[in-house]
Amino acid sequence: MVNSENEAAAKITEAENALNSAYEAVLQAEKAGANITDLLSNLTEAGDLLSEAKLVLSTNESAAVDFAVESQAKLNGFSAKADALALAATQQRYWDFMVNIEGSVAVVCGGLIVWTVLKRKYEKTGSEV
């Protein structure tokens, strides 16, 4: 049981800070090119609960604490999940980029090799290709 409005306000501040940190983690994941759809839905749920907590703070401190705690609970492990998604996206982008660039270099090299082989064969046999 929570009797103090200050205590409820403190819980709401905690939940607010957790939500802000989670949002910053989402921004980082988004910058890295991760798919943030799931993260956003989690964040929205936590945000709605936090809004509820603020709305009932002046009339029902106990409910405000419950909402704030529930909001924070929604964000358990959130930053780790966002970081993992960001890392995976960064790696994926790096490999995609490398495959594309190396692939195009390979095409050019392959073309040169084929051209050299054909040229030698043509010079050796004197026949037309």
């Binding site: 910053e24 095409v107 073309g111």
Partner: protein, 204 residues
């Protein structure tokens, strides 16, 4: 025809193939930069049009509008919508003129909506509201008791509105202010825009 005659054709085919293979990577580098970053905030009626907004209010009846936010900021935005209710003499928000002059209403928020919107996405929510008020026949004023916003009752005691002869109404103004979270300062800042409903609180 000698092999040399095919040289240009061979080089062209090889070049095109190389560009095709590199195109996913090149598409990331050669993106035309966006130059306009903004947020759209709008209120729509029940048919999702900007036409039939609630105007003549009857005490105790529910009215609905849709609040819509479209994010074109280039990143996932964290918004806060502060819902305020004012009479004609109380502080109003501004959204025109130089940025420094655009200010929110100084009134406390009655209801907050926390919204996360991905870039180029649109968020929408129905807002249902009703008012409970009485008419003071001596002072010719509408005196508010409370209002309900999406099922949450908010106290409006002490707030009243006098008859406005120029617009022929008991003026009430429901305001939706948009605030944006600034990650670098870890605080919400007024996003220099709001939408509102100008209402006539009927007493008959």
């Amino acid at each position: 025809m000698g092999l040399q005659n095919y040289r240009v054709l061979f080089m062209a085919v090889t070049g095109i193939l190389a560009l095709l293979v590199a195109s996913p990577a090149l598409s990331r580098l050669l993106v035309y930069p966006r130059t306009e970053f903004f947020t759209e905030l709008s209120l729509l009626d029940l048919n999702h049009r900007a036409e039939n907004y609630p105007y003549n209010i009857t005490r105790g009846l529910n009215y609905s509008v849709f609040l819509e936010i479209a994010n074109h900021l280039g990143y996932t935005a964290y918004y806060l919508v502060e819902v305020k209710f004012r009479n004609q003499t109380q502080s109003a928000p501004t959204s025109f003129g130089p940025l420094a002059n655009r200010t929110p209403s100084s009134l406390p928020s009655l209801y907050n909506i926390t919204v996360f919107v991905a870039d180029e996405e649109v968020w929408e929510r129905e807002v249902v509201f009703s008012f409970n008020y009485g008419f003071n026949e001596t002072l010719l004023k509408v005196e508010f008791f409370n209002m309900t916003l999406n099922g949450v009752e908010r106290d409006l005691r002490g707030l009243s509105t006098a008859w406005n002869a120029s617009s022929n109404r008991f003026y009430g103004n429901l305001v939706f202010e948009l605030w944006l979270f600034n990650a670098s300062s870890s605080a919400f800042q007024y996003h220099e825009r709001f939408v509102d409903l100008k209402l006539n609180m009927t007493v008959s």
